[in-house]
Amino acid sequence: MVEKIKTELGAALKEIPIGESDYRERGYHLFAEVASSDLLNVARFFDERGFYLAALICVDYLEYLELVYIFSNHVSLCKVKVALKIEPARPVAPTISTIFDCACWYEREIREFFGVTFEGHPNMTYLFLHEGIDYYPLRKGQIPVSDEDKKSLGSFRPEGGEDTFCVNLGPQHPSTHGVLRVVLKMDGEYIEEAEPVLGYLHRMHEKMAENRGYLQFLPNTGRMDYLGAMSFNLGYVTAVERLCGIAVPDRANYVRVIATELNRLSSHLMWLGAYLADLGALTPFLFVFDDREQINDILEPVTGSRLTYCYFRFGGLYNDVDEAFIAGTKAFIERMKGRFSLYEKLVTGNVIFINRTRGIGVIAKERARKQAVSGPVLRATGIAMDMRKTEPCAAYGEMDFDVPVGTRGDALDMYHVRVKEMENAVKIIEQALAGLPEGPIMTEKVPKKLKPPKGDLYHTVETPRGELGIYIVSDESDTPYRMKWRVPSFSNLMVFPELAKGNLLADAVAILGSLDLVIPEIDR
């Protein structure tokens, strides 16, 4: 498949060389460097072949700015990196948001952080920042933001029309799962337009990554997605290990799988409770917290934390698990199997719940591909893509589990997919516990200050919300040169405005809840 893409791409691009790279080291199969004039052709080429835009990253190399487009495919799992060099003094690039809808927000983010103008972009306004920011944050030098830039970026003014009025959903709102503000233009009860406004929780993690060593950045990863902190930890740790070529002992891999699956279970349970609280049933929220507290009580004696874990280290774990952990996890698994029938009776079969969620927020497969949706939201539309199967890290390759898919892509399917994922998580934990090997938990000879070899890496991991992509550019020093976090909730939120259109407000809340967003990871 990779060869086929290479020859076809070569035919389409003619003079541009296409290189093959070592997938193990780089995270992509092919790479190509294009000029601005070819970019749209390349984008159309990938669109016709069913690729999706996994990430759009900008890196400031001082002599030039590089825009990195990572195209990936659900079926063939081929990843292609397309690089576009632009000059730093007046950075301009064509927009591909007409072909890939997800590029709309990716490009807005790059515009306000790097100052790259995208020609033809429909809505270039502030996404995370505001007029008080005077310099482009992620540029390596102090490049000031000109006044015309500030004015054009700050031109979003919500206003109602003749029959419509504008209402704010948030930022302080019990249903928005974080600090998210959505400006709704409403016609009576129906929503005409929904425009999310982000940045209320922006803490500049990507800039912090450039100023801290690899080990020192590890606590930040748990703060980005606090509900799935283990999976973010796992993604980061395995990315750096892949970059440096560090091997991990088997026992550490198995414990990583157990901890990450417990965290996935905890995250999905929280989603279930919060979603039902949005819909009005307040009791499942507390039942869910009962289970979550049991998980926290198991993980706390081992990791020391209950929510924002910092447990993995490069080459293994911080400390070993003991008999109490194994016994506690086994007891919890047995109890959890009984709890699933409780949720089945209270929620899954409930006719009021089914009528609230069936047919709400239907995402078509084609829209899901263009918006780069991932995770349970993608699997609910019918595309069976799970990074744990396609790119297994830790010990996932040895586990036997299913990837549940839905058929219609509505909120009810997303609910069913997540419940089945919880059951699969229980299965995986059981297998991992049964096969837990003895041995060391940390490799020998991991240098205290990691200095990875020069190069870049795009590493993906399956978090409870979807595909997390970490793009690290290393320049052989002990701090990363650029670290980009492609978070799943960002792409999932992009689908919301088109889903909310024409719906009632109650349905919009149900749709927002079903996407399982965690705003801190969107805002980073």
Binding site: P219, D290, L346, V351
Partner: protein, 151 residues
């Protein structure tokens, strides 16, 4: 809204099943613990602020030699400063002040890990309270001395 009789019965049955769950929960014992009156066990690996550990050979003094590796490695600059002096007849320095700003600490454990003399460990103070930020600026050497007196 035409509903077939079987769908109606299934729907009504699901409603009754939900009622059954809550009424069973009504008669089951509570799963909460009454916190201030009923204290919970804190696991030994719980991560609160760090504390200095006694030296293995001489339990009267702490094991820190003020090398400053933890200060350099903290990602949040929470270990503000570590001062020490070389006393008579001792091979290495003794720490005289260890200022920790707990308001910015993220309990990552890097300082505990990198300390070459294993002088740091996590404490189990889970219910810290105070009225101002300065209440959480700890001097770990003073805390060590306080603990020595009370034990």
């Amino acid at each position: 809204m035409t509903v077939s009789p079987s769908a109606f019965i299934k729907g009504a049955g699901s409603l009754l099943a939900g009622l059954g769950v809550t009424i069973r929960a009504f008669f089951q014992p509570v799963v909460t613990s009454q916190y201030p009156r009923q204290l919970l066990n804190i696991s030994p690996r719980f991560r609160s602020h760090t504390k200095l550990v006694a030296d293995k050979d001489n339990p009267d003094k702490n094991a820190c030699i003020a090398c400053g590796i933890c200060v350099k490695n903290c990602p949040s600059a929470s270990v503000v400063s570590v001062d020490g002096e070389k006393r008579e007849g001792e091979k290495r320095k003794t720490a005289t002040s260890y200022i920790l700003d707990f308001t910015t600490c993220s309990q990552c454990g890097i300082c505990v890990e990198v300390c070459p003399y294993d002088a740091l460990d996590f404490s189990a103070d889970f219910n810290l309270v105070g009225y101002k930020r300065e209440d959480f600026h700890f001097d770990l050497v003073k805390e060590f001395e306080k603990r020595k007196k009370t034990s």
